[in-house]
Subunit: 461 residues, 2 copies
Amino acid sequence: MTDMPHSLATAEPVDNLTVMGGGLVGCLLALYLTRHGHAVELFERRPDIRGNGPVEGRSINLALSDRGWRALEGVGIAEAVREVAIPMHGRVMHDVQGNLTYQPYGQAGQSIYSVSRAGLNRRMLDLVEQEPTITLHFNQQCRRVDTRRQELEVLDTETQQARVVPYRRLFGVDGAYSAVRSALQRTDRFNYSQEYLNYGYKELTIEAAPGGQWAIEKHALHIWPRGQYMMIALPNLDGSFNCTLFFPYEGPESFAALQTPEQVTAFFDRVFPDALPLMPQLATEFFDNPTASLVTIRCFPWTLQDQVLLLGDAAHAIVPFYGQGMNAGFEDCTVLNELLHRFGPDWARVFQEFESQRKPNTDAMADLAVYNFREMRDRVADPRFLLQKKIESKLSAQYPDKWLPLYSQVTFSNLPYAEAWANGQAQEEIMQRLMPHIQTEEDYQRPEVQQLVAAEMARRP
Amino acid sequence: MTDMPHSLATAEPVDNLTVMGGGLVGCLLALYLTRHGHAVELFERRPDIRGNGPVEGRSINLALSDRGWRALEGVGIAEAVREVAIPMHGRVMHDVQGNLTYQPYGQAGQSIYSVSRAGLNRRMLDLVEQEPTITLHFNQQCRRVDTRRQELEVLDTETQQARVVPYRRLFGVDGAYSAVRSALQRTDRFNYSQEYLNYGYKELTIEAAPGGQWAIEKHALHIWPRGQYMMIALPNLDGSFNCTLFFPYEGPESFAALQTPEQVTAFFDRVFPDALPLMPQLATEFFDNPTASLVTIRCFPWTLQDQVLLLGDAAHAIVPFYGQGMNAGFEDCTVLNELLHRFGPDWARVFQEFESQRKPNTDAMADLAVYNFREMRDRVADPRFLLQKKIESKLSAQYPDKWLPLYSQVTFSNLPYAEAWANGQAQEEIMQRLMPHIQTEEDYQRPEVQQLVAAEMARRP
């Protein structure tokens, strides 16, 4: 055992590793593992998405933020991704009259980035394929994991042939409905929960303006917050926006209540009047595109001895409202990479450290994601809340060493999620004490307010 | 739809119902359903336990309390059970020196009852078999539930023949590892969690004294609380006690740390010195009997339209520390019976009302059970806590309309569990305010304490 970095990229592979899942996190993981000199066999259930087959109904756009970029930088692929990413500097809120309010995400120069899930996955598959020590298999459905014999049963979905694949170390990166996790669930004392929101989501499109221009502000994430539901939109390179409607399954305003194209159009005309004219395919898309559910999955342990490790959504699927699902999965790779540098191929120790370091942070991220749903659909429409955000921004500018807004801690830092969440809750309590004394932005400068602020800041470490 | 009671026991069966699981709750449910005039087909995985086969390793003794008795009374079988039940009037705590402390469970005449699980199940199977409208099948393992086709696949474990059994309405009463629930888990938006304690339990025996007498107080539940672990004992009719050791899986004092008969005996001699001489089979039993895990299972919904309903452990398995697992399952039957009286065979409504009424209460019971684990293993060894219990008992005697101790609300009332838990938490807060003013039992009568108590009581409804 040594604390010295383990030597990288030796001539001969150190270990033979099996990665189940060739999505975003699976590809990135394979790249990291191979950088440590290991040989990787990578299995993916779907066909090669770089072909012309249809892509399954996952969210089309993702928001890359600092944790994601850091992980991409670690294998030297950040620059290539940055070329196809659109920076979003803040939120644009659309009210029912079509009035806009803008709220920057962070300080000047800080942005999150809209990227295409499929485009990013294709790019990463290209990089994976260039690695001589990674073997990539598509159309391989994992049917069963026998953890006692350390064997996978995989079905080739093209030939319908099943075969048994032995493994020594298995990385389950096969998503929220992970087959690898299912095998761990059958071991004793496996804690597991799946919790659904009473909301579903549906992908819709705002079309490009003539000449491939963006019909609404390109460099922003757009939100139509409506209390019990909301729509958001992220920009694409071709001028269109990918919209997502987050909407209750049941109730007076819900998927169940909208059964005809006329009902859908009338509803959008009433609640999203400025968006409707930009969505000519609305009535078709609304009924053609699936309604997807929103689940939080937690489990523990993530390991089986030194043999199996879960990462990404397989270990901690979260709802999408903080834009951190992919970023958290990518950060898993960063953390694993650091542990491999520290401990080398002492897999038992690496796996143990990984789950004990990472579990409290992804639990906190799961809570943050549900919390941000309430904020996005409901609170961002409240003038008092927007005022509070402005005051917080002044406070952060005045006391930069004492105060980083929660959103920035999550999005523009690498602070462990659990610390960010604890800080954010403490900061919210302070804001609740200050805001009764503040009615306008200018009030922040009043001496009595400044005195209160100074007293609060003096109590902070 | 009518609010009038539905007429009972008509000549012809109203509906054909399928009950999966012939344990305690399954048998009681079948008896209730048949009282409403329905025909019931009851499937049980195990052989008929009234034969001579071995009984699986579930807890051997159970504590019946008011909710359980009420449910048994509803089908007229309480008296028969009472004959083989041993009343336990309170807890006897054994300290490390073997000193005893006694704490009554409730008012005079209030007791919980030690009953044998197998004996009770046998008695209930006898009653089930006497019902002409119940058909009872043993050795029937449910392998698959097809909720779309409404079919079960059952394997006869004697003949190894599988067959398909159609159902119209299916009651899943097949325990914590329910096969029926597994089928619901595969439907969309099914919330589910299984959460294990880091503790296991092991059944052990205190032998009868010569002449079939009880070597320690017969009419009590015995506890050896030791902070991070504990042992309990419940009396049997033959003079023996069934002991359960609740013990960490890992750590310096744990199952993992006791690997030889010598280690077990030395450990018991050190921490349970008064029990050891009464346990001559200890070293054998410790290694022959399984270490069982402790899980809380929550899920929702409990229904699939008007076709499937989960009850008992299949819907809400809890840890055993409040002695309410069986009682909660039996109370499910009481609640369902009331709904069948109100709504007749309007199954969609009955199922809906059942899950919406019952779910918050079994969630509260799950929390109470974990809470009581801490109280039993840790707090009951604390003199301040025992003083608090005595003061609370005086308070309850002085203000009987305003104060019923939490334990009594759970154990000696039919108050919904969620109300009991909320009341209990409010009462604990009051005790936390009073106790700093109280150092001895006599302090309760001091005028300033009486004044504080009166002020607290005046604020209660």
